[in-house]
Amino acid sequence: MSFSWMAWTLPTAIFFLTILALLIGMSVWEYFSPGGAPRTGILRFESTRGDRLFISLLGAAFIHLAWLGLVGPNLWWALALAVVYAVGVFRFV
């Protein structure tokens, strides 16, 4: 079966493999160190580890879009900002 119609490229494959690795990593983390029960952070709503991953990924997408729209096409700084944002979300939200 050919998947050429999906027009895979190396960067997009790495992108999806990273998300898959994050999901697997979260499962392993929860298995060995359970602690994914809801908690209330600075935003005053309950979130689990999965919720925080979702917020991090969604926020990262918008950080990259905003960087692209407002600054320029060099997205490495946007990636760094997204990582800092994700750490903040997992720590405080």
């Binding site: 999906m6 490229t9 997009t12 005053r44 709503f45 918008f62 692209l68």
Partner: protein, 288 residues
Amino acid sequence: MNKTWNNKAWFLVLPVLLLVAFSAAIPLMTVVNYSVQDTFGNNEFFWAGTDWFDEILHSPRFWEALQRNLLFSFIILALEIPLGIFIALNMPKKGLGVPVCLVLMALPLLIPWNVVGTIWQVFGRVDIGLLGRVLASLGFDYNYVRDPIDAWITVIVMDVWHWTSLVVLLCYAGLVSIPDAYYQAAKIDGASRWSVFRYIQLPKMNRVLLIAVLLRFMDSFMIYTEPFVVTGGGPGNSTTFLSIDLVKMAIGQFDLGPAAAMSIVYFLIILLMSWIFYTVMTSSDADS
């Protein structure tokens, strides 16, 4: 007590996983792949990087369509949610009126979207449509083909006619599930009609209202068929919503790369708005 570890139940989830993979995950991955490439057909692709995203984010056409979409969804929610609650509150709770009202409410939901568009396209026409002729005979200069305000009013009224019943049915389901004891207690306390609504009916409808708001927001934000059939996105671009613009770009112009990039931005906005609605409404529910 010993817990039984049986992971065979995971196989029951497998059909859903396969369905989601083929209906959502694989198409989404393909769109992401297209969004960073250019193609002229024949399964040949050329790397474009973030060019299409850059083009979309700096396109006035995209931002204007997004503003129209947000305004449309805001108007739809502001009209359909209160109207749906009002109708549900006034529907009979017992007797022959219940099935009659339920069938009447369900009727618009059973009509396919393109048929709804066709009905309103004919209904609003000044030359042959009942609505258009009546308004013209009353002295209103109504013409949805020529006037952007008339086109907006027609599309909004059509959507309200089509989808308010969904809100009504959801609210009605929430209302009939409230035990009589609540109303009896309110009566003993001498509660006013407003107090009964504010402190009994509205909190009990919270869950169904969340579903109604989410469904109506997502659906109105993704609306395509009805306005496309009635106005074709016109006059000018006045009713060109994101979905109509997207189809023009992808199918009309065969610009698959920019269309894919626009799809992803569109998807992210829907995801963000739905998450905000869900979080705010579930948090307020937990607080109450």
